[in-house]
């Protein structure tokens, strides 16, 4: 019995797909590992050096400057009790403000008047040979 599909199949089989170029397989390079290791070592070295430098810079402490004697005295004065100050702030705000101004004058270095910082420094400067 004649089968048209068989005829067609037979006809199609006469055609062959055109040849294709061989599969190009990229072989892993022999020099891959030495290069990778060298790069990794260089990166590790650079990172180590930068960390060390950063630590050294942070370790340098600026020389301590001792405050003048008058300033030291002002700082060491006994301050008011925080509890009393809070109570005063709640009861009389104006008086509290005045007290705080007076206290700040004692504690903070003054730049005006006889006992000013500038005068103290100038006097110390004169004393040093």
């Amino acid at each position: 019995m004649w089968n048209p599909d068989e005829d067609m199949e037979q006809y199609l089989r006469e055609f062959r797909p055109r040849g294709i170029r061989p599969l190009k397989i990229e072989e892993p390079s022999r020099h891959f590992w030495p290069k990778t290791l060298a790069a990794a070592a260089a990166i590790a070295l650079a990172a180590g050096l930068s960390i060390r430098l950063a630590r050294r810079e942070t370790a340098v402490v600026p020389p301590r400057v001792e405050p003048p004697a008058q300033v030291r005295a002002a700082l060491s004065e006994k301050r008011m009790n925080p509890f009393l100050l809070t109570q005063l702030a709640l009861e009389d705000n104006r008086k509290f403000g005045a007290v705080m101004s007076e206290e700040s004058r004692k504690v903070l270095p003054t730049l005006q008047g006889r006992g000013s910082m500038l005068r103290v420094f100038a006097a110390e400067q004169r004393q040093t040979p």
Binding site: P4, D5, D7, M8, E9, Y11, L12, R13, E14, F15, R16, P17, R18, G19, I20, R21, L23, K24, I25
Partner: protein, 163 residues
Amino acid sequence: MQNDKLTAAQVKELYEKHGSALAAYACCCGLDFAAAEDAVQQVFLKLLRGGTAVPRLPVAYLYRCVRNASLNLRRSRMHQTDPVEPEKWFARDGGAPEEILALQGALSELPEEQREVVFLRMWSGLTLKEIAEATKMPMNTTGSRYRYALEKLRERLKPKVAR
């Protein structure tokens, strides 16, 4: 249908057996022959790199992969002009070039699913049962697609087949 990873030897064997048919199939997707070779190589190199699980019958899977790669390549080469002279993706002993070009034209005009079945059957050597399994289609659908495709090809190539 279990999925397996192919060894390099298996990939090479598949390439030697089906590479040419896959390239012709990629040409049907609108690529010139050099680009079709690139598309096929892309797919097989990806398989060689490993990590891709393929079905037990990998041929249909390869056709799908090549189709996708071809469409991607075609998209990226949209600006390129078509070759002046039509290329031949098939060869035939003692056949006239017009017959080859006629077949190529007829195959390109087939609907995608019919073309896939024809390629799998004619140039990748799968039985209809294997094609049905590989494409996850019922046997009847696969058979109908194949018959419709042959009918269309016969219509297009009538004078040449009757010769």
